[in-house]
């Protein structure tokens, strides 16, 4: 390999955020080089990996994505394997076992495709409720970028404002809503009886038509760990288009250092290839888009004489305010069939439970019925009972149709003690593993005790639950946010309103890490909206010379 790597825009990470910036820059006539730590594979390989997993392992989102030694990610098979890469501590350490693959295309390979927007109130927690922080701008500023993000990803959603969340839009969704299967319809009907509104989700799945060269969703019910036909947006579908526009993508290139120069501008990034050989890449603007864990890790690893806390970290906020949506799940059995497994694995949520004046005391949350097919779960459970013949088939059918998982995802406010630091433990390349302290806080625990669990139990009763098991611990939602938090004050935040590092004029850190608050909904659409906003700033900056 030659070391003459250089481009106008150097993008580290090939997930949805990196691809958004890269494509925007290419469209503006700029040269782009993308660096991806992990391998680049074809969709069929992931699908075959999934289909060839033993049934009980099919629930492990990561099992179809074996990591390369130089790009480790969480492996969930056992507690021991899960403890290998992410080093976790604190009272809710296990709730930060965040799932993301280090593959070209990033975590959108295995995301659910849900595209909720933040509400205006979600962005003003401090001024409205006295908790958390306010964003550097308001919803109206972000709204055009949300719309652009929805058209870039191909988001389907309802045309009726009464079914939209939030119902404040400048344009309709590019596609209409996907139909409900029987489970989501029944959950919707039950929720309505107790005054809750289960909304059709805005989702990056093609509804009834092809979009951006991807086919219509056919209800393969395998959105995670992988959509077998590419009907759900994932960034892997963008990579060939980026190359067609002249972008260069280097896989198996693990960026480990950001190099700064005169005026503290970034002048290069350094990466190891799979043979542990180091390379240097120069550029005019640098974008670190490696999600909320890997981005702060790279910045902290890059400390130098002038940036003694790490690059972009004069505020000491890099790696702080780590957020997610702490999840509580309930496994329920009902007297009557619900029938999940028809359509996408997620297609609706109760959202209005995330809003209210109670947020000055405790957090809000969304509620959802998981729509993944349960015949595998029912089949394995029935086999364990030693049944045969008609009794076995009847029990499989009952357990498939009459069981469900209900989920609560709580909003978590930015808290500086929820912090990513560099572990002394090293990976295959000798790079520090990330270490994260995580405490969901009393703000969330109060909500669970006094607000969300009572609602969950109402939903369970409405569904005719005869047996249930509610987790008494929080788990992760894989919505990594906050580690490069945005703000107007360089002393208390890492990036400005365009995701530009306060400390480095030509370094951009868009994505979940920049999010000031996370709301209760899935974070990806906001990440892409921020990437759109950052893209505009990057193009303007480079065009201005």
């Amino acid at each position: 390999m030659s070391d003459n790597y250089s481009a106008d825009v150097v993008v580290v990470g090939t997930g949805v955020v990196g691809c958004t910036v890269a494509e925007h820059a290419l469209d503006a006539g700029l040269s782009v080089l993308m660096l991806e730590a992990g391998p680049r594979v074809e969709r069929w390989q992931i699908v075959e990996n999934f289909r060839n997993l033993p049934p009980s392992l099919k629930a492990n989102w990561d099992a179809a994505y074996p990591p390369k030694p130089w790009a480790p990610h969480l492996e969930t098979y056992t507690d021991a394997s899960a403890a290998e890469y992410l080093q976790l501590e604190g009272p809710d350490a296990l709730a930060y076992r965040q799932g993301y693959v280090r593959y070209a295309g990033g975590a959108t390979w295995h995301w659910a495709g849900i595209c909720w927007r933040l509400t205006p109130e979600d962005m003003k927690l401090k001024s409205l409720y006295g908790v958390g922080r306010d964003w550097a701008f308001d919803y109206n500023t972000l709204e055009p970028y949300y719309t652009r993000a929805e058209y870039a990803l191909g988001v389907s959603g309802p045309s009726d404002p009464a079914l939209q969340w939030p119902p404040m839009r400048s344009k309709p969704y590019p596609m209409g809503q996907l139909p409900f299967g029987p489970g989501e319809q029944r959950f919707t009907d039950v929720a309505a009886k107790i005054g809750l509104h289960n909304l059709p989700a805005a989702q990056a799945r093609n509804s009834g038509v092809s979009y951006n060269g991807r086919p219509a969703c056919c209800g393969n019910n395998n959105c995670f760990p992988v959509c077998p036909i590419g009907a759900k947006y994932d960034a892997a579908t963008t990579l060939p288009r980026i190359e067609a526009k002249g972008g260069v993508i280097l896989a198996n290139a693990v960026v480990y250092r950001v190099e700064t120069g005169s005026k503290n501008a970034v002048q290069a990034v350094h990466f190891f290839d799979q043979d542990k050989v180091s390379h240097r890449v120069t550029g005019k603007v640098f974008v670190i888009a490696c999600n909320g864990i890997e981005t702060p890790k790279i910045l902290l690893m890059s400390k130098n004489e002038k940036n003694s806390n790490g690059v972009a970290n004069s505020s000491d906020q890099v790696g702080r305010n780590m957020m997610d949506q702490p999840k509580i799940s309930a496994q329920i059995t009902m007297a009557e069939p619900l029938w999940t497994g028809v359509g996408p694995v997620q297609s609706s949520s109760i959202m209005n439970t995330s809003q209210g004046d109670f947020r000055n005391v405790h957090t809000g949350a969304l509620f959802r019925m998981e729509n993944a097919a349960r015949s595998r779960v029912g089949g394995l459970a029935a086999l364990k009972k030693g049944l045969v013949g008609k009794a076995l088939d009847a029990e499989i059918r009952r357990l498939s149709a009459c069981t469900a998982t209900l989920t609560i995802e709580h909003e978590l406010i930015p808290l500086p003690y929820n912090r990513l630091t560099l572990s002394a433990k090293k990976d295959w390349l000798g790079l520090n593993k990330p270490n994260i302290y995580y405490d969901v806080s009393d703000y969330v625990r109060r909500s669970t005790a006094t607000y969300t669990l009572p609602i969950l139990k109402q939903l369970m009763a409405g569904l005719g639950t005869t047996d249930s098991q509610i987790n008494n611990f929080y788990t992760h939602s894989d919505h990594i946010m906050g580690g490069c938090i945005m703000g107007t004050d360089p002393s208390t935040s890492v990036v400005d309103a365009d995701c530009r590092a306060h400390d480095h004029d030509n370094l951009f850190l868009p994505g979940g890490g920049a999010m000031t608050t996370g709301g209760s909904g899935n974070s990806t659409l906001t990440m892409v909206a921020l990437a759109m906003k950052a893209s505009d700033a990057i193009v303007s900056q480079l065009k201005a010379g």
Partner: protein, 180 residues
């Protein structure tokens, strides 16, 4: 590898099942070895497929796929060295009861090794595996029988049963078991 910057080489991925389908029965014996039975790989018992299919069709009230049966027969012969003699004993019980379906003779299979063998055969057909451990072989996915009792409504993940927006909120009654 087809491109210096990409990882398209399928040899790096676990494609046991598809390789088996393309590779024929002769390859199965070695490829099918699950964890814990590798020591038997050099002395694969040659369980007669017709006998395995006969006992399987008596133990399971479904149409059975011969290709899946071939893979399972070889794999179970490796994993359970005494499976053939247990099958012989189970068939004796079935014939004695003039059995057509499992309900005709299963109550007469004594608990212990014979019942364990019967349940292992049933479990293999229903789950598509004989081991759930990481890295163990999958002999059937979409043809694993545990997906069939709900297949009139519920998708086998990654295999669509409708088309674009072709599903709706209606579902068959629980009592309407599909015909197998």
């Amino acid at each position: 590898m087809t491109h210096p910057l990409r990882d398209d080489c399928p040899l790096e991925y676990n494609l046991f099942r598809r390789q088996l389908l393309g590779g024929g029965i002769a390859f199965i014996g070695l490829a099918a070895v699950p964890y814990g039975v590798a020591a038997f790989a050099d002395t694969v018992p040659n369980m007669p497929l017709p006998k395995f299919m006969e006992v399987s069709s008596l133990l399971i009230n479904h149409q059975l796929n011969g290709d899946v049966g071939g893979r399972l027969a070889t794999a179970m012969g490796v994993a359970y060295p005494d499976i053939e003699q247990n099958i012989d004993a189970i068939l004796v019980i079935a014939r004695k009861n003039n059995a057509k379906i499992v309900e005709d003779f299963y109550p007469d299979i004594p608990p212990g090794k014979l019942q364990d063998a019967a349940l292992a055969i049933i479990s293999a057909w229903y789950s598509g595996v004989i081991s759930e451990e990481l890295g163990s072989e999958v002999y059937a996915y979409e043809l694993a029988l545990m997906y069939q009792p709900a297949s009139d409504v519920m998708t086998i993940p990654s295999y669509a049963i409708s088309g674009p927006n072709g599903w709706n909120a209606s579902a068959a009654p629980l009592a309407d078991m599909p015909k197998f």
